[in-house]
Symmetry: C2
Subunit: 248 residues, 2 copies
């Protein structure tokens, strides 16, 4: 059966996250609905990641298989064909043939997330659906001191919304955690091999609270060592987060 790899972008505002929901408001539901209109075998899709409700993507990856004989269009028409069946807040950016053993989730070597802030007393109305409004001035120097402390191999139990005690393995390796700031528009870039549930939002929320003076920068080391969600900072809201790229 021919297998395909899709790269997708979506505005997560209207959805309950990537994973299919009975309500039909999972992004996966929308994609499977579109594929069912193109291929009688109604392919199921497997995504690289489960994004939370409200999280966006510019580089989500997913794979699906089509029954033999069903795929008859030129490959370059596939994104257009799927996009014609999708709502405009979900777009297929690229489609490629994949090896028969390719798996969007298990073959992923790493991911890049970006977290967007708007740091100004008044929110920018053009960014209100995709940046977190942080009204108080942030100490960017403190945030830049703290961010690299997340890089490397750590037990991230203090930064996940899963009940830490029940997690068998909370060790993850981050290769990048830095802050790109320009005026009121600030972006956190977080890259790693894998992520725990709500881990990016826990890191982003903690960095912002460090910027607000709630914790000193060095406290990150203590938080990591304690393996307890209650010692770290808040979860940043979902709508500032973008799954930017998946690496294979």
């Amino acid at each position: 059966m021919p297998k395909f790899k899709l790269t997708l972008a979506f505005d997560g505002s209207a959805y309950h996250g990537w994973q299919s929901q009975r309500s039909g408001r999972g992004i996966q539901n929308q994609l499977e609905g579109a594929l069912a209109r193109l291929f009688p075998s109604a392919p199921k899709v497997q995504g690289s990641s489960r994004t939370d409700a409200g999280v966006h993507a510019l580089g989500m990856v997913a794979h699906f298989e089509v029954a033999d004989g069903e795929f008859r269009m030129p490959l370059r028409h596939l994104p257009l064909a799927i996009n014609a069946c999708l709502p405009e807040d979900i777009r297929v950016l690229k489609a490629a043939r994949a090896r028969t053993d390719f798996h969007a989730r298990f073959d992923a070597k790493g991911k890049q997330y970006r977290y967007h802030l708007w740091n100004h007393p008044v929110m920018n109305p053009l960014l209100r659906a995709r940046a977190w409004h942080v009204p108080r001035p942030l100490d960017l120097a403190a945030m830049r001191e703290a961010a690299p402390l997340f890089v490397g191999r750590h037990d991230f139990r203090s930064f996940t919304a899963n009940r830490g005690g029940e997690l068998k393995d909370a060790v993850r390796t981050l290769s990048r955690c830095d802050i790109q700031g320009r005026g009121p528009s600030i972006t956190l870039v977080i890259e790693g091999e894998g992520f725990l549930y709500k881990m990016c939002r826990g890191i982003a929320g903690t960095l912002v609270q460090i910027g607000e003076g709630r914790f000193p920068a060095q406290e990150v080391e203590v938080m990591l060592s304690r393996h307890d969600r209650r010692v770290a900072g808040m979860n940043a809201p979902a709508h500032g987060l973008v799954l930017q790229k998946v690496f294979y």
Copy 2:
């Protein structure tokens, strides 16, 4: 009567433009509604510009007067107080006391508009409400050759949606027209003393059609000299345009 100058940002998607409408869907209606909740004299506002339906702003300016004795809060609270009465797609960024003879429209010395394009076969769903999707590759070198031809003092009759024959004075002076490009994200920056109806959108549409090879870059000079809307390019759609700044 105390007079105030407001700087405003708005997402124009849900409105029929700046000017008050009987439908109530003018941005001015929303602002006057908010002021009426704060000041019993229900001040009318005067904007620097009339933006079209769907056009956005990050630096619209407006003024209003409050009846004597009605203004009792510290000035720094005024943006917060008005924002609390506005929908979240309209925000007051700044408020200042103005001289009694200040007029947001007549005192404006110039304006900067920005026109945003997304030049990629597939639209970025996060930008769909504020950039024009141009799917075919653009020749940026041709656009960069054409843009400065708009700078200077010209009769812009060929670039306005007003019936040109009825316009007494279509001479305007542009001080800047340039193209900032980065990957698929391209921005046109247009600055001038004053603008005719839909003039920015006529310039943006013409530059895009030059980028698509529909007209040669030098054709801009011919278009300007003909004083006829039919010889210039198309109007770019409203949702890519932002009123960025007003100069006083």
